[in-house]
Symmetry: C2
Subunit: 213 residues, 2 copies
DNA sequence: GCCATTACGCTACGACTCGTAGCGAAAGCG
DNA sequence: CGCTTTCGCTACGAGTCGTAGCGTAATGGC
């Protein structure tokens, strides 16, 4: 990851403890203050470091929040629930659990909003957050193929496009349900959503050209 | 809407021209500066009004941006494309068109992020933005029922839940595709998405209890 | 063991934004 | 004409930003 660290640099190394303290303090401040009222001075005080230390490591508030939120997605793992339908429900529920945490709610959407005017920030988000989520979708597909519930890759391009579509639908629906509609993505909702998605995918796969039922 | 205006209040009335100028200036500033760098002083200067005038009418930046963005959704109208499938594509495309405008991209997500810590703001967003979008979904359903493509309301509770689900899926997927994945919701993507959604809904409606194909 | 190099904590700084207060003038109504 | 409210303007204290400068701490190379 850190390709700009050739091997061992001379001089005092950066404190790893400071990094974890800063990121934890950032999440804490996100919960208590939200994104707009979060200041780097406050984060520094919480973490017990100097404000300048934060500026030496991160370009600004946006990048810091991205890294702080990204760590929340490290814990993500998809339990094997035995069937494609159950695994999709698992993916959706994992997203819902993450978005239930206040530090994710306030932080994630804010940096996404900022990324609309900052291409580098968008790329940072994609690398450190989106790709970690996407793993779950790919993981679920592989399992389904192993079980024989899905054909083992017909056209790679087409498959990639389908994965992208699924990902946008799943992540987008959960986010919209949770943050915009303001209602919990509970088990009932997840069940209904999964049913629609799964039937839609099966149907779409079954008709390459024929449309009428 | 303005129930706190009994009939005609004494004193000098608020300038309607000022309101439109302020909202237009807000959108202009959103495009040029984005949400985080937008200041009310800057908006006042653009609109040719005093900063205090803005503070007399809006509680703060968040509410101002909500109203400014909400006006973008006034133009929304759903053309009759002849079939349920085509109408759904129409709804999705309408969302995509709105989210293509930079003032919507940077403004909308930012206020949604802020609303996670401000219940009143969330309600304001729901009233002035979300409900205007939802109209399109309801409109499409009514048309489909008129055409006989959908049954005319079985259980009202169940119908409402389905509309909510459709709305979260449609709006969420378009938003995620556009803002997070950073790829355009063009006609190809919309076609694929609509196909999955429509097949999923048909399938879900067709099986109240039976599951096997 | 000394030295070059880098990170750290601390203080201080100018620039900017915030939200509010006070003023005189303007624009409505009875 | 009075009464009321809005408007533009100026000014203000408080708070934040991002940076610079300094002395000190922690490494690795020689």
């Amino acid at each position: 990851m850190q390709s700009r660290t050739p091997a061992t640099r001379p001089g005092r190394p950066r404190s790893a403890a400071a990094a974890t303290a800063i990121l934890a303090a950032t999440r804490e401040a996100l919960v208590e203050l939200g994104w707009s009222k979060l200041t780097l001075g406050d984060v520094a005080a919480r973490a017990g470091v100097a404000k300048t230390t934060i500026y030496r490591r991160w370009p600004g508030k946006n990048e810091l929040v991205v890294d702080a939120v990204a760590e929340l997605f490290d814990e993500l793992e998809l339990p094997d629930r035995g069937s494609l339908a159950a695994d999709i429900e698992g993916v959706v529920l994992q997203f819902a659990v993450i978005l239930d945490r206040p530090e994710a709610r306030s932080g994630l959407m804010a940096v996404v909003a900022e990324s609309t005017r900052d291409e580098a920030l968008r790329e940072r988000i994609r690398e450190s957050i989106v790709e970690r989520q996407k793993r779950l979708v790919l993981q679920g597909r592989t399992r389904a193929q192993t079980r024989g519930e899905l054909p083992p890759e017909s056209d790679p391009d087409d498959a990639a496009r389908t994965v992208d579509l699924i990902f946008d639908v799943v992540a987008g629906a959960v986010v919209h349900r949770t943050l915009v509609s303001g209602r919990p993505a509970d088990e009932d909702w997840v069940r209904g959503f999964t049913q629609v998605l799964l039937l839609g995918l099966r149907g779409a796969a079954a008709l390459p050209v024929a449309v009428d039922p």
